[in-house]
């Protein structure tokens, strides 16, 4: 019942946001700049197979407003530094860092649009960024996170694999509650991805610990 009420509230909030001039203007910029040739923005997830995932040129953005932090997104759109070491969907080609740059005005519009795209599956207020040795142990030793994702230690030294998005700077980029939602309901956001569904291997408390740990990465 609570979930239904939350969904209804978010639905109303989305409609209000979708009707706002800033959202509509940002949507227009998004289309005008041809962003939709690489990113889809209508949820739920559309992929039905590995082939569908591999056919995508860039990440889906239908839950961007639940995933990203607004300040980071606005800055990144104007100066897009690679987040993934490898080109999207590739394990052989490096990320060429060729994402288009937007002007400050266009970036502001697209940010307004993308921040209006939220998911009811991301519950707010569950995760507070925090470093805990137990979480570090899970990330580095108990689970294979380090094998695919770059991450910083407390001194700022970076290590990790290359196939997944880098988690360096996650504290500035990602909404902590989205990290937890992604870990606990992975298939909702990405039905096909080269990361395991960890929900059956980690308890809820450990996933929260891990989300808080990742959310604290500088």
């Amino acid at each position: 019942m609570r979930r239904l009420a939350v969904s209804a509230f978010l639905g109303v909030a989305f409609l209000a946001m979708a009707a706002s001039p800033a959202f509509a203007a940002g949507d227009a910029v998004f289309k005008d700049k041809n962003c939709s040739s690489c990113h889809y923005t209508t949820g739920p997830a559309q992929e039905k197979s590995i082939a569908d995932q591999l056919a995508k040129k860039g990440p889906e953005l239908w839950y961007a407003g639940s995933k990203f932090k607004k300040t980071w997104l606005l800055a990144w759109l104007q100066d897009p530094k690679p987040i993934r070491p490898m080109k999207y969907n590739s394990i052989t080609a490096k990320n060429g860092g060729d994402h288009p740059k937007l002007s400050a005005v266009d970036a502001a519009g697209v940010t307004d649009f993308l921040m209006g795209l939220t998911s009811a599956d991301v519950e707010a207020g569950l995760i507070t960024p925090k470093y805990k040795p137990k979480a570090k142990l899970i990330f580095n030793k108990k689970m294979p996170c380090l094998g695919c994702h770059k991450s910083p230690d407390k001194k700022g030294n970076v290590s990790g694999g290359l196939s997944g998005p880098s988690l360096v700077g996650a504290s500035k980029r990602l909404n902590p509650d989205w990290i937890y939602a992604y870990l606990s309901k992975t298939t909702t956001f990405k039905p096909y991805r080269d990361m395991p569904d960890f929900a059956s291997y980690l308890s809820e408390s450990k996933m929260k610990l891990l989300a808080a740990y990742v959310a604290n990465f500088k």
Binding site: I91, G160, G161, D194, P196
Partner: protein, 116 residues
């Protein structure tokens, strides 16, 4: 009548071949998508995640001596449960809730073929 039977048999054979080819394409896609990031598309254990930061070397599936020591059940178990399920590194992820049982079976055969 004999001619019809021969034609039917030929068509059946073609279908079988087409089915096997489609399955081979499918299992290669599954392997390349999930496994090759660490084991490499050639199965030699040199995927993109093998960097100086990673202490463990992924299994080289082309090593006949080493692979002869692994049973099909070892391979099946480690794919589903991850490295710790056979007392190996946790860097090998548990794919049991991500890859279907049918695809795991296809992967066992595909992985075995690297050492043939």
């Amino acid at each position: 009548m004999l001619r019809i039977s021969l034609m039917a048999a030929a068509l059946f054979g073609l279908n079988m071949f087409a089915g096997a080819a489609a399955q081979a394409t499918e299992v290669k896609q599954v392997f390349d998508f999930y496994c090759a990031q660490c084991h490499g598309t050639d199965g030699k254990g040199g995927g993109v995640n093998v960097t100086k930061d990673i202490a463990t070397t992924p299994r080289d599936f082309t090593n006949k001596v080493d692979m002869a020591k692994r049973t099909d059940d070892d391979i099946r178990t480690v794919i589903k449960g991850g490295g710790p399920s056979i007392s190996k590194s946790a860097l090998m992820p548990p794919w049991g809730k991500t890859i279907s049982d049918a695809d795991v079976e296809l992967l066992v055969t595909y992985i075995r073929a690297f050492a043939k």
